[in-house]
Amino acid sequence: MTSRADRVFAWSVGALALLVPLTLLGIALLLLVDAWPSVARYGLSFLVTTEWDPVKLVFGAGGYVFGTLVTTAIAILLAAPVAIGASVFLVEYAPRLVRGPLAFLIEVLAYIPSIVYGLWGFFVLVPFMRTTVEPALQGTLGGVPLLGALFSGPVVGLDLLTGGLVLAIMILPIILAIAREVVSAVPSAQREGMLALGATRWETVSRAVLPYARAGIVGAAVLGVARAFGETMAVTMVVGNSSTDISPSLFTPGYTLASAIANQFTEADSELYFSAIVEIALVLLLVAIVVNAAARVLIRRTGAAREGMIL
């Protein structure tokens, strides 16, 4: 009797657990079905051609891919150093009294709804970028060969740079939270060993703690990338929503994959237009799965190593 009840229970919880991957599979299949007319028509060229014209029914998401890659790159380049630095400070240097409240404050950033970031970005950050930051960048770095191209053109404030900056603030707490976990997971034996050899605090951190935590920190950054890739509302409000030209300047208005869906989904009234929008969703889903899986593997490597040490 007991063994049968056990089996029944095992089967039912098994079925419940199966629901999650089945839901994901269902979503992916539905997206694939709806995206099919576009997938069949454009194949992989969908991701690289930049002509997106709903009137003439020509759809290439290259401009959106470009905008997504650029804003994500800006976000991770700005957020990762801050997050990693802050995590080292919180774990290795901060007095216990400061550690808790400071960590809490930074992580609160993660709980702010993205529309709030969008409103703040639109009404505060964009004017500040237009009147202060971007003219300053143009004035100082604009004349430098090659680098200057990044800061050329008219300054409106609604552009790739502002989009990337809002994303950086949004992904900061995610990277920080995970990086902090990873750094504090570095076994004390590592630090004690270094200190016993007469190493300074800095030597301990740079030679023992960070190398040990490297895979996990990279994983944290990759999770940040995944978040930046899919973020929709806040970016849409500040990025400029225009993909007319792909230019090296960060001051050109851009367009991201997620913004394209948010902006155009409701009025996509022809079959091909609709399926092109759905194909963007499919691309975002696939990228999210791959990037998240990679991040988990990296973070787990640090965790697994720690268990090995304890044994």
Binding site: P127, G157, T266, D269
Partner: protein, 367 residues
């Protein structure tokens, strides 16, 4: 007085038709209760579902409230966008759809049965701008608007803008163009107008609820465009007339087809559909109207219904609601910032509603 006239017309029509003695779907006295549309009708569906355009959503909810208390019929309207409205009526998931842009021939062919366009109210789109130091209201020629949005006119002091504005000192600065980033009926009216006044626009960009913009940044919704224009010096964008009025945004005058610079207002918008030839199926674009008093960037918004609805109760319910909307309902338009339909359009729309059938019989009783 003006708002009463559709009622008077309706009464005349009703008497005439009563004299003719048309075929009522349910007979014995029910017809008199069902038409004219004054109170509840025992033979109609108690609830109706519709979905579509966001632009008329405010007046539709007012109508739903007023019509509900007059007849007890519950109308549900989801403002999901014109594209969604067309999709919903094509897939028959709603009793009526709604759109700010007329369905294309292709879309009509894709629907399994004939669909009618019933215009309900009118709206307009106005150019709004932010020019420091300029206090006068700017005047725009069609060439200037098309040139700016094509990216051919890039400076505010370009003679194509300046010539229409004698006495105004325009800065020599770059024009920052702002457009909608989301698909929208507002965009449709704007680009439909630009297509009519500029061959270049028509061939390179064309008409649609979203288009490939040659220049500019995109803002989401009227509020996104207005917000961007407000905070960006030397910018120009376009918003719905109601939105510009409510937010007290500067709205430019636009030169119409007869050469007059017309201020956008509810009256000049209604004029756009008055005394002009309108396509038989009422899928009419009235931008660049020939009426000399018309504001040229004006358009209809439509409800979309099947010409034949198999369920007689639904057919009666939908046609009664439509009839009420284009007659009694018009009196709510102006207060909510919509331009009411001119009389000749109401008459044409009434004839269209009369042509709705259920299983081959007229849906609306010939009361």
């Amino acid at each position: 007085m003006k708002t009463k006239s559709p009622l008077a017309l309706l009464a005349v029509l009703a008497t005439l038709l009563a004299a003719c003695g048309g075929a009522a779907p349910a007979g014995n006295g029910a017809a008199t209760a069902c038409f004219p549309v004054t109170g509840s009708c025992p033979d109609e569906a108690r609830s109706l579902d519709g979905a579509g355009a966001t632009f008329p959503a405010v007046i539709y909810s007012k109508w739903i409230e007023e019509y509900g208390s007059a007849t007890g019929v519950q109308v549900n309207y989801q403002s999901i966008g014109s594209g969604g409205g067309i999709k919903s009526i094509t897939d028959k998931t709603v009793d009526f759809g709604a759109s700010d842009g007329p369905m294309t021939d292709q879309q009509l062919a894709d629907a399994k049965a004939p669909i009618l366009h019933i215009p309900t109210v009118m709206g307009a789109v106005v150019p709004t701008y932010n020019l420091t130091g300029v206090t006068q209201t700017l005047k725009f020629t069609p060439d200037a608007l098309a040139g700016i949005f094509l990216g051919e006119i890039t400076k505010w002091n370009d003679p194509r803008i300046a010539d229409a504005n004698p006495g105004v000192t325009l800065p020599a600065s770059d024009i920052a163009v702002v457009h909608r980033s989301d698909g929208s009926g507002t965009t449709y009216i704007w680009v439909d107008y630009l297509s009519k006044v500029s061959k270049t626009w028509e061939t390179t960009v064309g008409r649609g609820t979203s288009v490939k913009w040659p220049v500019g940044v995109g803002g989401k919704g009227n509020e996104g465009v207005a917000g961007t224009v407000k905070q960006t010096p030397n910018s120009i964008g376009y918003v719905e007339l109601i939105y510009a009025i409510q937010q007290k945004l500067p709205a430019g005058l636009v030169r119409n087809a007869k050469g007059a610079f017309v201020e956008p207002s509810l009256d000049s918008v209604s004029k756009a559909a008055e005394g002009v030839t309108i396509a038989e199926d009422l899928r009419a674009s009235i931008t660049n109207s020939d009426n000399p008093a018309a504001y040229p960037v004006s358009g209809f918004t439509w409800l979309l219904v099947y010409q034949d609805m198999p369920d007689p109760k639904k057919a009666l319910g939908v046609t009664r609601f439509l009839w009420w909307a284009i007659t009694d309902g018009q009196r709510f338009a102006k207060d909510l910032g919509y331009a009411p339909l001119p009389k000749d359009v109401v008459t044409k729309a009434e004839a269209k509603i009369r042509s709705v059938t259920s299983g081959g019989k007229p849906a609306l009783p010939a009361g």
